[in-house]
């Protein structure tokens, strides 16, 4: 099953981007503010034309540093950065930002407070004759749906409108790629859903290659063709969103992109034996090896049963679902999500059934095996 899925993804990607030069390519990029303590180390990734790649990770993981290295705001200490096949950053060379032809949307949008919307968008278009410049600005504003707002100042706009101006300004100069630094973090949570959809549609429509930095996995899942998960400056996994969620490469990724429980088990012939039952196993681990099985709450189904040894410890109502915290006989905790209409009170003994489409195993270490 896993195998098949991976193959499909592979096929999809190769079909879409066969033999084309990547717009962005990072080769073993390392950035260090202080020697010996790299902010990011050995990051490699590529983006093809029209790709939306997400850099996902907790704060301080180096995702913004990566973005700034691509923009040319940070010097790199090892590796190379290519934009459209042109070397723009290496330890010995750094093309200035203004010559990289990138568009950038900052977290706080950085709209020039002293300029009107129209002048903000036209900021990088000085080289064009006036009429072309005006045309380009009008096209951009129409594209982001802000026609009629030309004469406003940034502080007279809502957060969402400011973001769209920032986007129009970044795209106005027809950049080779767009860099977005946490573009939704300054917006009202109610608005982000709509804004995500709009942004995605716009990027698809203009076939813009984009690199988006975020700490929110929902945002990454919603937007990205591929996600690069970063932690402590290391690239943990680079894959399509589905694979990041279902087959995380490391326990960190598993935990960061959604709720996960790690149940210890022992490898037997072709299977893994755990408290929750037997899981298929694909020969990565030797016989008798101690492992943990990653289990997502949506894989665990509960059924009340008087004979059951596991009991419900807590229930959290989440609107579309109930999240149950369940204590196993060993005292270990697992979580289960069930439809919000079937309610079992706390204390109910329940039978657990795990229906996982893929088994994700990690070597057992003390941290993960803790109850």
């Amino acid at each position: 099953m896993i195998f098949m899925e991976k193959q499909t993804h592979q096929k999809m990607r190769t079909a879409a981007h066969s033999n084309r030069q990547p717009v962005l390519e990072l080769r073993h990029v390392t950035c260090a503010y202080e020697a010996g303590r790299p902010a990011i180390s050995d990051i490699s990734l590529t983006a093809q034309e029209g790709d939306i790649v997400c850099l996902l990770g907790p704060s301080g993981c180096g995702k913004t540093t990566t973005l700034r290295a691509i923009a040319g705001f940070e010097a790199i200490t090892a590796g190379e950065v290519y934009l459209q096949g042109r070397l723009v950053s290496s330890p010995s060379l750094s093309v200035p930002t203004e010559q990289r032809r990138i568009g950038m949307v900052f977290q706080e949008y950085a709209l020039f407070p002293h300029l009107r919307v129209v002048d903000n968008v036209a900021f990088g278009l000085r080289h064009l004759p006036a009429d072309q410049r005006a045309d380009q600005v009008n096209t951009m504003l129409a594209m982001v749906g802000l026609t009629g707002f030309e004469r406003r100042y940034p502080h007279e706009l809502s957060g969402g409108q400011q973001q769209r101006v920032a986007l129009a300004r970044a795209l106005a100069q027809k950049p080779v790629m767009l860099l977005l630094d946490e573009p939704f973090s300054n917006l009202d949570p109610d608005m982000t859903g709509k804004m995500r959809e709009d942004l995605l549609q716009l990027l698809r429509h203009t076939n813009t290659t984009a690199l988006l930095v975020t700490h929110d996995h929902d945002e990454a899942f919603a937007m990205a063709d591929r996600i690069a998960v970063l932690n402590h400056g290391q690239l943990e996994q680079l894959d399509v969103p589905e694979a990041i969620y279902h087959t995380p490469a490391t326990p960190f990724v598993a935990d960061f992109v959604g709720q996960a429980d790690f149940i210890p088990g022992v490898v037997e012939q072709g299977t893994v034996l755990t408290e929750l039952g037997i899981f298929p196993h694909e020969k990565e681990y030797s016989l008798g090896a101690k492992v943990v099985v990653m289990i997502r709450p949506d894989d665990v189904h509960v059924a009340p049963s008087d004979q059951a040894k596991a009991t419900i410890l807590a229930r959290q109502f989440r609107g579309s679902e109930n999240l149950y915290t369940i204590a196993l006989p060993s005292g270990r905790i697992v979580h289960s999500s069930a439809s919000s209409t079937s309610i079992h009170p706390v204390g109910t003994p329940v039978e657990l059934r795990v229906i996982a489409t893929h088994t994700v195993l990690f070597p057992q270490d003390d941290d993960l095996a803790q109850p």
Binding site: T97, F106, Q107, E108, A110, P113, H114, F123
Partner: protein, 528 residues
Amino acid sequence: MTQAIRQWLPTSVSALGVLVAGLVVLPLLYILTLALSAQAVVWSRLWQTRIPELLSNTAWLAIGVSVGTLLIGVSLAWLIVRYDFRGRRIWEWALVLPLTMPTYVLAYIYTYLLGTGGPVEQLWRLIAGPQAQVFSPQTYAGATLVMTLDTFPFVYLLTRAALLNLNVSFEEVGRACGVTRLGILWRVTLPLLRPAIVAGLSLVILYVVSDFGAVSLLRYQTFTYAVYQQLTGRYDHAAAAILSLLLVVFALIFLLAERWFRQRSRFYQTMGRYRAPARKACGLLGTILITAYCVLILGAAFAVPAWLLLKWTATVISDGTIDARFFGFMVNSTFLSALAATIAIILGTPLAYLATRRHSRVSVLCLQAAYAGYVLPGPVGALAILVAFSQIAPFWYGTVIVLIVAYVVHFLPAGLQTMEPALQQVTPNLEEAARSLGSSTVQILRTVTLPLVRGGFIVAWVLIFLQCMKELPATLLLRPVGFDTLAVRVWLEASEEYFQLAAPAALLIVVMTVPALLLLVAKDWRAA
């Protein structure tokens, strides 16, 4: 929030506030009536003889000093914030020191330095030949130089703060748009700094047009000097009032400008998440050039004058020229200043309380009225008090009381500016909590509010105290006969060109001001 307080805040506080505000604004009203009720002949005479000259002199001085402080202040702020060189941290602090020099002290020192046969001329003759001359300090150039050296820290401080708060994202996004570094400087950075720079310049101009000490010693005819002359030479109150009114209007424009632009600059900077720009490291040559520039400016504005004051004071002391009278002046100054500061704090408390706790039209009006003292330059304030007292309480004329009132009216605004934020930082919730625990209003004030604002109020007291110590024109005009203060002595000796005799008092004023200035600057200082 305010609703709850409004219910229990006694109206006596409001009444007190209105009373204080009235007291402060009364002199201004006197000036206004006096000027407007003056005979048309006086107006036309002044208009034909004095006003054009005074206007152009004052305006040119303001323009000259603005250009000078703009160049010096902005360039220094830029170097300090954007470059890294040895000694940067020390320079960053040291560059505010010229503010400790009252203008009359700097003016008198430059009268000596640039005077005929003075050190600068001697030095210049070594270079340019025996007949060479330097410009006289008692000219437009001299007044501009002295005022520039004395006031550039205003521009430096405000520009520096704005540069430190400037979000580097603005510059980065500009570069991402393909604009060169020079283009960014002109199209992004300077426009964003503009409100802060203009606020600084407005402060400088306000200072220049209301200055009396320097222009009187340098014999440069401006409004303040002319008002003083009308009062002391011609005893012409009506003419003085007319000139004062013009001066007040002049000052008011720049006071409002400063407020407006400071507001704007705050609004410019609070946008978005802050990130500091990287500082450019300087090589040896860069360090030498920047240091030389700082040495030149600070040397001219502070170090050389301070050194001269020290030298002269030492001479005077070893000569034994300094006598018991000097300590008398010291006592006079300290006594007057301490009394005025204490009264100002007591009167300012209800006003500050009203402003922070009760937002009503009355309280805003009271506060604005209290700030009127700001637009009453020394001689004008003195004239106003003089006239007011001769109308209301002529028997007090020529006593210390008049002087104290003048000080309080003039410096209450400066105190309020420190007291207001101090009170603002105490959340009304604390007072409401105390109220819910059964304390009365007076108890709350004594046990909760005042202990919490003590620090801010002490700073305000120190500030007013020092301003009073330095105050010259009102003291000159209103002091009781034979009652001299340190500032008055400096001015009297200096106008007779007894440079050495003026030094001890001047030095004392400067030395006392240094710690207070550093304290004040440190309040909203963020190390660059």
